[in-house]
């Protein structure tokens, strides 16, 4: 009886997600059909564009890399029942760390990467911790503070990129980082760098942290019921700040890795990473705020991203022209809304039950 219940508890999210996924694809298909395209050919081209050959598959995996990290960032905070909307801004600090140390300080390889990663963790972590501290000491809702801090981060990092770290010969971007700071490509000729493995490793590390260490236990306890956690002797305030630090640090890694493993610079305007932090929220919701789920849902989101680029190029769907990006984005949005519904409901339920600390 118990094993049966356990199994049902584990299967429930899988079944829910699959059903909403199916509904999402169905709804997207209706849109495609209404716009005068063949939905089956559309999805065929989308999936072939994402996984059709080795290059596309590796490309999709490389697109999933930053999503894994920003989604983990959201998940760690969410596990402590904190709603961190600030991954976007925290991520920018990772970009800043990579560009500043990577391009302007000469260090031997490995050492160079480690320095960047350390600085990214510190900057992003502290930026997140500030929001955590405001919450526990001043009662400032972290949703509000992180949203506002996103703007601060954007303009601060953008200012530095534009006026301090810029490349005098190509002023639309910063100087490129030195080769010693780059993360090597796992497969030459693709964009899949070591960043992918590091992101998976980060997911594993956070899994262990959350479910196999006292700190992780405390974070989850605070998330489930702060009052009970306090009664149980857990320092709730410290735990919340810590989880915000971890959340910010993980987001910053996403920014740092995008620079170190893909672009080697940032444009002034940060469009290389824009919105990746917000995407992470949806990825995490779909992945049920669980590291393993997040890896899978990141790959799914990456598939949608590479797929809608591919349907533009596909001539089998739209006759001569392919499906315009805008329509692809509509379908992508619909699918994401549908697959987010189950977890969104859980989240609303939890936030409603959440007591102020």
């Amino acid at each position: 009886m118990r094993t049966c219940d356990d199994l049902r508890n584990h299967l429930r999210p899988v079944v829910e997600s699959s059903l909403s996924l199916l509904a999402g694809f169905l709804a997207g298909g209706i849109i495609i059909w209404a716009a005068g395209f063949n939905p089956i050919l559309f999805y065929e081209a989308l999936i072939a564009g994402a996984f059709g050959d080795i290059y596309s598959t590796l490309n999709t995996l490389s697109y999933s890399t930053p999503l894994i990290l920003t989604a983990l960032s959201f998940a760690i905070a969410a596990r402590a029942s904190l709603f961190n909307i600030g991954a976007e801004g925290q991520m920018y600090f990772g970009v800043l760390a990579a560009v500043s140390i990577g391009a302007f300080i000469a260090l031997p390889s490995v050492m160079h990467q480690l320095c960047i990663i350390t600085l990214a963790i510190l900057l992003g972590g502290l930026w997140g911790a500030v929001a955590g501290w405001l919450r526990v000491s001043r009662g400032v809702n972290e949703v509000v503070s992180t949203i506002m801090m996103n703007f601060l981060a954007l303009y601060l990092v953008n200012y530095l990129a534009t006026y301090v770290f810029y490349d005098p010969l190509q002023a639309y971007k910063t100087k490129s980082i030195l080769p010693s700071a780059e993360l090597p490509l796992m497969v030459p000729g693709t964009d899949l760098s070591l960043a992918f493995l590091l992101s998976i490793a980060t997911a594993m590390a956070l899994y262990i942290l959350l479910w196999r260490t006292p700190l992780g236990y405390e974070i989850r306890a605070v998330g489930l019921n702060p009052s009970a956690a306090r009664y149980g002797g857990i320092d709730v305030k410290r735990t919340m700040i810590t989880s915000m630090f971890l959340s910010g640090a993980t987001a910053a890694l996403a920014g740092a890795f995008e620079v170190m493993g893909r672009f080697y610079y940032t444009d002034t305007g940060l469009s290389i990473v824009r919105n990746m932090g917000f995407d992470g929220i949806a990825v995490s919701l779909v992945g049920r705020n669980h590291p393993i789920g997040i890896i899978l849902s990141s790959i799914f989101f990456a598939m949608l991203k590479t797929g809608i680029q591919a349907v533009q190029r596909s001539t089998s769907v739209g006759g001569r022209t392919g499906v315009p990006l805008e329509l692809g984005l509509v379908v992508q949005g619909i699918i994401i809304i549908f697959i987010s519904i189950p977890e969104m409901l859980d989240l609303i339920r939890r936030l409603r039950g959440r007591r102020e600390v």
Partner: protein
């Protein structure tokens, strides 16, 4: 729990209603995609055009590239596939996949943002033909389309020199990159050309704002120049310059002027429609021609790698005229941009503005254009800080 269910039901219903509504709105105009079978004459040339993240609807670079490709579709009977990049991460995979497919006779990258990615991919596929607009990639299979901005700037510079009443003109620039030196050099030369004819001593101030995207900054810089008495301002700053156009417009409006001077001069596309009566002309970069010529060369088998520099003669740059105005009003309408007035009124206002300038000015500019085209007059240009410094000194341009 019951309330959770209610929320679930509401959400699902909302989602269904939204999808249905969207489906209905999309279904109505059934002309979205003509589905008639494709007639393929023996060997139809296929072209892929990759837009940068600016994309269609920028009323500038990308839209003009689209115009050029559409013209090629009509006149040269080629097939064109448009690919819109959503983030900079898309450039490389799009290039790579299009190249690998081997289906395209030409792949066109619109904009210098794709330079680094094209360098890598074009080296991998030496048999694939590429073109890049407004940047140089030094590979045998890449056609680099660049523009002689100095020639077009010379014309609008001369215009500025002719129409200024305060004998002060200003240039609002973006980031200090070598391309902008072409604009500077040509413009200063043009102002001096007018001086040689009218004898007026015109003071030039220029200012690098350090940004192509900061409209507020452009406005602020322009307001400073206007306050110091400049009455013709040249926009060489992209979106930052949009702020400059607004500054001139508001300044004139506050002084209850029906039209300039003070005038603004637009750049890249035809910007004359944005504030009719206050923008006297635009220095257009004919990206459409760059795209069209590249496709035409492929169709006729004349494609070669290397730099194709398009000046006045080649139709790569030009000073805007009424036809351009009408075309861009059309594009703006089509893209749903907000027009400041009805198209008829914009054209009317524009004609009044142009008529307020003495005829000999336009006549002289025509002659100057002819002389530059025939090579009788050579407009100087600059590619390095040292060279532009000398030109600034020669024509008396000072930093603001």
């Amino acid at each position: 729990m019951a309330s959770g269910k209610t929320v679930a039901v509401v959400l699902v219903v909302l989602a269904i209603v939204a999808v249905a509504a969207l489906a209905i709105t999309l279904k109505k105009p059934s002309k979205v995609q003509p589905q008639q079978p494709i007639q393929t004459p023996k060997k139809k040339v296929r072209v892929a055009v990759i837009f940068d993240i600016g994309g269609r609807g920028d009323l500038s670079f990308n839209d003009m590239a689209w115009l050029g490709a559409e013209r090629a579709k009509k006149e040269l009977n080629v097939e064109v596939t448009y690919v819109q990049s959503r983030t900079p991460a898309d450039y490389r995979p799009n290039l790579e996949s299009l190249s690998k497919s081997g289906k395209y006779d030409l792949i066109i990258c619109v904009g210098f943002l794709m330079t680094n990615d094209l360098k890598k991919v074009a080296a991998e596929y030496p048999n694939q033909k590429y073109a890049i607009i407004d940047s140089v990639v030094d590979l045998p299979n890449v056609r680099s389309v660049v523009f002689k901005e100095n020639e077009g700037s010379a014309l609008v510079g001369a215009l500025a020199g002719f129409v200024t009443k305060t004998n002060k003109v200003g240039v609002v620039l973006g980031m200090e990159i070598p391309v902008l030196y072409h604009f500077e050099a040509g413009f200063y030369w043009g102002v001096n050309y007018a001086h040689n004819i009218t004898g007026k001593d015109v003071k030039i101030t220029y200012k690098y704002t350090g940004s192509f995207t900061d409209a507020a900054l452009g406005k602020q810089v322009a307001e400073g120049m206007l306050a110091q008495g400049a009455d013709v301002l040249y926009n060489v700053a992209g979106l930052t310059g949009k702020g400059m156009l607004d500054a001139v417009y508001e300044y004139d409006k506050n002084k209850k002027l029906e039209m300039g001077p003070p005038f603004a001069i637009g750049v890249d596309s035809d910007q004359d429609w944005i504030h009719p009566g206050y923008i006297i002309a635009s220095m257009m970069k004919r990206v459409d021609n760059g795209v069209f010529y590249s496709i035409r060369d492929v169709v006729y088998g004349n494609f070669t790698g290397g730099v194709m520099a398009l000046g006045l003669k080649e139709g790569g740059v030009k000073m805007s005229d009424e036809k351009d105005l009408e075309q861009f009003i059309e594009i703006a309408k089509e893209l749903g941009a907000k027009l400041p007035d009805t198209p008829e009124n914009i054209v009317k206002k524009y004609k009044e503005m142009r008529a307020s300038i003495p005829d000999w000015v336009w006549k002289d500019l025509k002659e100057l254009e002819q002389k530059i085209k025939s090579g009788e007059i050579k407009v100087p240009t600059a590619n390095t800080p040292e060279k532009i410094k000398k030109i600034r000194e020669k024509y008396g341009a000072t930093g603001a």
